[in-house]
C-alpha cells in the first residue's frame, strides 16, 4: 500500500481544482493506493455548508459527497486557515468528515506520503 496526498491550495469557487483533486483521489482505489486530501489556504472555504459554486453556475462540490462516503476518503484542512476565515466547527458540512491539522505538523505529515500532488 502506497500513500498519495492531493493537496489543494486553490479556491473551491471559480477554479476546478477541488473537484479535480477529489476526482483524482477517488480514482486511486483501483491501485493499492490510499489517497488523502488536504485543503490549504482558500481551499478551506469549501468545507463551509454555505459554500456553493453552483450559485455562480459552476460544478457543485456536493457531487463528491457520495464518493467521500463510499470510499471513506480522508479530508484534512489546516486549522489556522479555517480560523483565518472564521469557519466554526458547527458550520462545517458533515459530509467532509473533516479532520484538522495544525501548521506545525504539516512538514512531517506531507513527508509521510509516497507521492504528493498539489492543485
Amino acid at each position: 500500500m502506497k500513500k498519495v496526498l492531493f493537496a489543494v491550495y486553490n479556491s473551491p469557487v471559480g477554479s476546478i481544482w477541488i473537484n479535480e483533486a477529489l476526482r483524482s483521489a477517488f480514482g486511486m482505489y483501483g491501485e493499492d493506493l490510499e489517497p488523502v486530501v488536504l485543503f490549504v489556504n482558500e481551499a478551506v472555504l469549501a468545507v463551509r455548508k454555505q459554500c456553493k459554486p453552483e450559485i455562480i453556475g459552476c460544478l457543485p462540490l456536493s457531487i463528491t459527497f457520495k464518493y467521500l462516503e463510499k470510499y471513506n476518503t480522508q479530508v484534512y484542512a489546516i486549522k489556522e486557515d479555517l480560523e483565518k476565515y472564521s469557519i466554526k466547527e458547527n458550520e462545517i458540512e458533515p459530509h467532509w468528515n473533516l479532520k484538522t491539522i495544525i501548521k506545525e505538523e504539516l512538514p512531517e505529515f506531507v513527508h509521510s506520503f509516497d507521492k504528493v500532488v498539489f492543485f
Binding site: 502506497k2 486511486m28 483501483g30 491501485e31 493506493l33 500532488v117 498539489f118
Partner: protein, 117 residues
C-alpha cells in the same frame, strides 16, 4: 527508472509544458522510461491543429517527437472532452486515458513530478 511528469495548465500561456518537455528530453537521453500525464487545460497541448507563429515553438509537435522517442503521452479523456479535443485533432502517439492511468503512474513510477497549477 520510470519518471512520470504531470502537467495541469495550458501550453503557451504558461511555462509548464516547456518545463515538462525539457525535463522529459533529459530523462529520455539518460535511458529512463518517461510518461507525461496531461490533466485539465494541459490537454490542449496535444491539439495538432495549433498554428503558432513561425518563430515560436510548436508544442504539440515537440510532444509528438518525444512520443516517437518512446515517451508515453497520456491525455485525461474527460478533460479532453470538456475542451473539445477529439481523436482526429490529437497528435500521433498521445492516447486518451484517465484517472485510472494516473493512479497506475502514481503507483508504479519511481518519480512522480507534478507541476502544480
Amino acid at each position: 527508472m520510470h519518471i512520470a511528469i504531470q502537467v495541469n495548465v495550458p501550453p503557451y500561456t504558461n511555462e509548464d509544458m516547456d518545463t515538462a518537455i525539457h525535463l522529459a528530453e533529459v530523462f529520455v537521453k539518460r535511458g529512463h522510461k518517461v510518461s507525461i500525464f496531461l490533466f485539465a487545460d494541459s490537454v490542449l497541448a496535444t491539439n495538432k491543429l495549433v498554428k503558432p507563429m513561425k518563430i515560436d515553438r510548436n508544442i504539440p509537435l515537440k510532444l509528438q517527437e518525444l512520443s516517437a522517442k518512446g515517451v508515453e503521452v497520456h491525455i485525461c479523456g474527460l478533460c479532453a472532452q470538456y475542451r473539445g479535443i477529439t481523436e482526429d485533432m490529437k497528435i500521433e502517439g498521445a492516447d486518451f486515458s484517465g484517472v485510472p492511468e494516473m493512479a497506475a503512474l502514481i503507483y508504479n513510477s519511481d518519480r512522480y513530478i507534478n507541476l502544480l497549477p
